[in-house]
């Protein structure tokens, strides 16, 4: 059994009287690459900050490497890397001094690896951080987060400002990062295509709670789109559990179902004298289908 890297129990966080996290139960094992999905304001960034001890939970517990997130030891912090949404870098430094300054804090800083990434990602070492474009700064922030080979990498929308080439390079680095060292990654993003490339698991946050957490392949196998063309009006007859969404047009129906079952579809085709076509959904489509449901019903839908 793999060790648990991140674990939260009934984690709640509110700002003044505004609750953002309303009871997060989450567990991540070593080696998992977890994509954190959720609509704007669903609490993704707040969750990541609570996990890192940047925010103090209002109630509940949060642990990383088995330590209380709010009071992480130096060694625990030395095992994690973080790229924030703002990727706050000291603007008066140049790229080289920024890497040297950051590296001075880490015992296991890999200078040659950092130099390699700087070269691969075409970052000018003499350029002042303030003069870098947003994408270049994001690259630098990622490099700084990888420089000490963290066991846990937490990224808050890390590719939002990267161009397609840089995104591809970044994803490649992430894959190498996990393949070579079996490290753990938790990252929030809105770009689901990237998440599909690297993530092993998906966590969907909705209204401050975990809507679901599932293996990506499993999720994609279970959630399907079904097109049905029959001879009679279908709306009254298609009433079986597991339908997430249904659109009807007299003898035609378009359904999104969870727990897709081939046998069930075959028998339905015979029963309704209808033609049934099953389509795969990509993660973005699944995300869109699921984000229409509130978190209370979402768990029931997926469960």
């Amino acid at each position: 059994m793999k060790s648990v890297i991140i674990e939260t129990r009934e984690l709640k966080k509110q700002f003044d009287k505004n609750p953002v996290l309303t009871g997060i139960d989450l567990s991540m094992e070593a080696g998992q690459v977890v994509g954190l999905l959720g609509t704007n304001g669903s609490g993704k960034t707040t969750l990541l900050k609570c996990l890192l001890g940047l925010l103090r939970p209002t109630s509940g517990t949060s642990a990383v490497f088995g330590e209380n997130s709010w009071d992480l030891s130096a060694s625990a912090k030395g095992r994690l890397g973080y790229v924030s949404q703002e990727f706050a870098l000291l603007p008066w430094m140049n790229v080289r001094t920024m890497t040297e300054y950051t590296g001075a804090f880490y015992e296991n800083w890999d200078k040659s690896y950092v130099d390699l990434l700087l070269k691969e990602w075409n970052l000018d070492e003499k350029a002042r951080v303030a003069t870098l474009s947003v994408g270049q700064r994001q690259k630098l922030a990622v490099i700084l987060a990888l420089g000490h080979h963290p066991e846990l990498l937490i990224l808050d929308e890390p590719v939002a400002s990267l161009d397609p080439v840089a995104r591809r390079q970044f994803l490649k680095s992430l894959i190498e990062f996990t393949e070579d060292e079996e490290n753990t990654i938790l990252f929030s993003t809105h770009i689901t295509s990237d998440l599909e490339r690297v993530a092993s698991h998906v966590v969907f946050l909705d209204e401050g709670k975990v809507g679901f957490k599932e293996e990506l392949d499993e999720l994609k196998n279970r959630v399907k789109r079904v097109r049905i063309s029959g001879v009679a009006n279908l709306e009254q007859k298609l009433n079986f559990p597991g339908i997430i969404r249904a659109d009807y047009q007299e003898t035609h129906a378009l359904l999104t179902v969870k727990d897709h079952n081939v046998q069930q579809m075959n028998s339905l085709a015979v029963e309704l004298n209808a033609t049934i076509t099953v389509e795969d959904l990509n993660l973005e489509e699944i995300f869109l289908e699921l984000s229409d449901h509130s978190s209370s019903s979402l768990e029931q839908v997926i469960a």
Binding site: L55, D71, S75, P91, A104, F105, Y106, W109, T131
Partner: protein, 708 residues
């Protein structure tokens, strides 16, 4: 534009805590100006011979009854003074009479004397000869009326500043026309010397004339009343510019004299202290108002909506003008309480707004030609205005009083019009701010709701200067060594743009530039350079160290914006607290140099000797820096700008209240007395205790800071 739009915009003002805080400060200043009872304190306004450098006091002869301790203090004879101090460094000297028949000590032993006051010493032919042989003597004060004939004629051809009793002038009035060197004459009298006016007017190059009742006994009984003939005599003097006297009750009498003596200006001997401070406080009040409007407009004009929403700027501009006008009206009404002229008061208020407007535009104007002109105007406004209100520069303050009482209406109108123009120009150009910022800024400065992640070429250029590049060398060979607190503190400090050593370098330059001219002067004149000027050096050191107080706060506030990522460096929460706290504290080390400078400065004057120095050391060497560090740590403890600002202001207000209480407690003490020492040590003890408690509180609070 509907009224509700303006109301909605106005609501954005009181929804921002920072704006509310600034408004609160503005109202405190306003209430202070408008409602505080007047103290009836007056400051001397009239010019008199001014000492140069340190003023040394000696007695005409030794007093056998003096104790050993007194001898070691300043109450020495000239010979004793010369035994301790290099004669060449003495520029100003007061000689007081010890016994009635004491002759003038041999002042020729002090060859570089520029200012001499003879207190109670009768002049003899021999002493006059001595005085005349002092080549650099320029200012002379005589309190005795006894002098040989011809003294005034001879001395009046050598010194340009003279303070003398009216009796001497009456005795030798025929010598006055020969006093060709005298530019400044201060006449002390027991009864108003109207009869002397005609004779004094014969001093050929007289520019400033003062009539001062002995002991400053002012009132109608010793007021100077001029007949029309006397007025004509003064008015027609070819070089006379100003006359200071007890005219009766100011300003009513001044109005009378203003009409009759022009072009010679007449002033009272004293002027209400509040009138000066009211102008200074009004300027400060307007700075707060300006900051309030700028902070709000900055936020409103930087949002993308400002660039894309049609007619977005106009209502915001109107509301800002409304707030500015209301604030200016309040400031003006408060200023009128001090019986100052309507137009002159208005011009001060409007000029403050104008200078602020120019200051903002300085950053926004693209036109280099305009920019070149704006900067000197701001510099002049910033440096001349405070100097204008300081009585020590009597020339300035006379001009200031003349101006504030409405005798320079054209200048007031010109300043007002120019300032209104600057404000109008500033508000009209506000749309430039939006475009400018969109194009050139990205991570906007603090107090801005702008997206901080936008690309930023302008900021990059800002950090590409040689000073920042100097920092780069400090990161070479930087690598992980160990985790001792000292090393980590050093490492954290390397992440700052603020470097105290740079400030120290600047300070050294300031000191060098103040010392080098002295050395050159010393080489030229053969004087010994540094002895006697150590006191001034203390002041030189203490001055620039003010930067050591404010710059760490700014530096760490700037740094705290990046601490979200930085706080995840491999350091535990408690260690991070320790390291950051000590790093911030260490960045204040310039303060100790400043305090040391102050103590050196004070040591030369401390009547209580080492005992007093110990108390001062506790107060200024321990308590004050600790309190400053505790206050500065607010930038690390709190996230929001207004909370940081409010807490720091609150903490320094506490100091002000404490100082007020301390002054009230200490007023009854005699300097250097045992009681005085007890109070000093009591205050120092309380101050150290409070500073330590403050630091303990802030140190604990930092542990609970959420960096995200």
């Amino acid at each position: 534009m509907s009224q509700s739009t303006h109301y909605q915009i106005l609501r954005t003002y009181w929804r921002r805590p920072l704006v509310l805080l600034l408004a609160f400060l503005f109202l405190i200043c306003f209430a202070n100006l408008a409602f505080m009872p007047k103290s009836n304190r007056y400051s001397d306004l009239y010019p008199r011979p001014e000492p140069v450098g340190n003023l040394h006091f000696v007695f005409s002869s030794a007093d056998e009854l003096r104790s050993e301790r007194e001898i070691s203090d300043r109450t020495s004879t000239l010979d004793e003074l010369l035994a301790e101090t290099d004669a060449k460094s003495i520029r100003s000297l007061t000689v007081s009479q010890m016994r009635p028949d004491d002759p003038l000590p041999n002042v020729l032993n002090v060859p570089h004397l520029q200012y001499l006051k003879l207190s109670g010493i009768d002049l003899t032919e021999e002493s006059v000869q001595q005085i005349l042989r002092l080549p650099k003597l320029n200012a002379l004060e005589l309190t005795s009326e006894k002098m040989p004939a011809g003294t005034l004629a001879r001395i009046g051809q050598q010194v340009s500043e003279l303070q003398i009793r009216s009796g001497s002038l009456e005795q030798y009035r025929d010598e006055l026309p020969k006093m060709s060197a005298v530019r400044l004459l201060t006449v002390e009298y027991d009864t108003p010397p109207q009869g002397l006016i005609k004779d004094i007017a014969k001093i050929p190059h007289l520019e400033q004339l003062s009539f001062v009742p002995r002991g400053h006994q002012q009132g109608s009984h010793n007021a100077l009343v001029l007949t029309p003939e006397m007025q004509t005599t003064l008015r027609t003097h070819p070089t006379l510019k100003t006359v200071y006297a007890n005219w009766g009750i100011f300003p009513q009498q001044n109005q009378y004299e203003q009409q009759t003596l022009l072009p010679v200006r007449s002033f009272p001997l004293q002027y209400p202290a509040e009138n000066q401070t009211s102008v200074g406080m009004t300027v400060f009040e307007m700075c707060i108002l300006g900051a309030l409007i700028i902070v709000q407009l900055w936020a409103q004009f930087l949002v993308p909506a400002a660039a894309v929403v049609p007619h977005y700027l106009r209502p915001h501009r109107r509301v800002a003008i409304g707030v500015l006008c209301l604030g200016m009206l309040l400031a003006w009404l408060a200023l009128l309480r001090y019986q100052l002229d309507l137009l002159a008061s208005a011009s001060i208020v409007i000029a403050s707004a104008g200078v602020l407007s120019l200051y903002v535009m300085m950053f926004m104007i693209e036109n280099r030609f305009l920019k070149t002109w704006v900067i000197p105007i701001i510099v002049i406004a910033c440096f001349v205005t405070p100097a204008f209100t300081i009585l020590r520069f009597s020339g300035f303050s006379s001009e200031f009083i003349w101006y504030m009482h409405g005798y320079m209406p054209r200048l007031a109108a010109t300043i007002s019009l120019f300032s209104i123009g600057a404000v109008v120009y500033g508000f009209r150009k506000l749309s430039v701010v939006t475009n400018h910022v969109n194009e050139k800024f990205s991570s906007l400065p603090i107090f801005s709701p702008w997206d901080t992640t936008k690309a930023n070429k302008y900021e990059g250029q800002q950090y590409n200067n040689w000073l920042v590049r100097l920092l780069d060398s400090g990161y070479q060979q930087l690598e992980y060594r160990s985790r001792t607190t000292v090393q980590m503190v050093s490492l954290w400090r390397k992440g700052n743009l603020f470097r105290p050593t740079y400030v120290l370098f600047f300070m050294v330059l300031v000191i060098l530039f103040s010392v080098v001219p002295r050395i050159l002067m010393g080489l030229a004149t053969g004087e010994q350079i540094l002895s006697g000027s150590l006191k001034e050096m203390g002041g030189v050191i203490a001055g620039p160290v003010g930067m050591g107080f404010i710059l760490p706060v700014i530096g760490w506030w700037q740094r705290s914006r990046y601490m979200e990522s930085e706080s995840l460096k491999p350091v535990s929460r408690s260690s991070l607290r320790n390291q950051l706290y000590f790093a911030l504290a260490f960045d204040h080390w310039l303060l100790w140099i400043g305090m040391f400078g102050f103590l050196v400065h004070r040591a030369l004057d401390a009547p209580g000797g080492w005992l007093e120095m110990g108390g001062l050391l506790l107060l200024f060497g321990v308590a004050a820096p600790l309190w400053i560090i505790g206050s500065s740590s607010c930038v690390l403890i709190f996230k929001r700008a207004w909370v940081v600002l409010a807490s720091m202001i609150g903490l320094y207000l506490l100091v002000a209240i404490g100082l007020g209480l301390a002054v009230a407690l200490a007023t009854s003490a005699v300097p250097g007395s045992v009681y005085d020492m007890q109070i000093l040590y009591l205050l120092a003890g309380i101050a150290v205790f409070c500073a330590v408690v403050l630091n303990l509180i802030t140190y604990r609070a930092l542990l609970h800071r959420e960096w995200g």
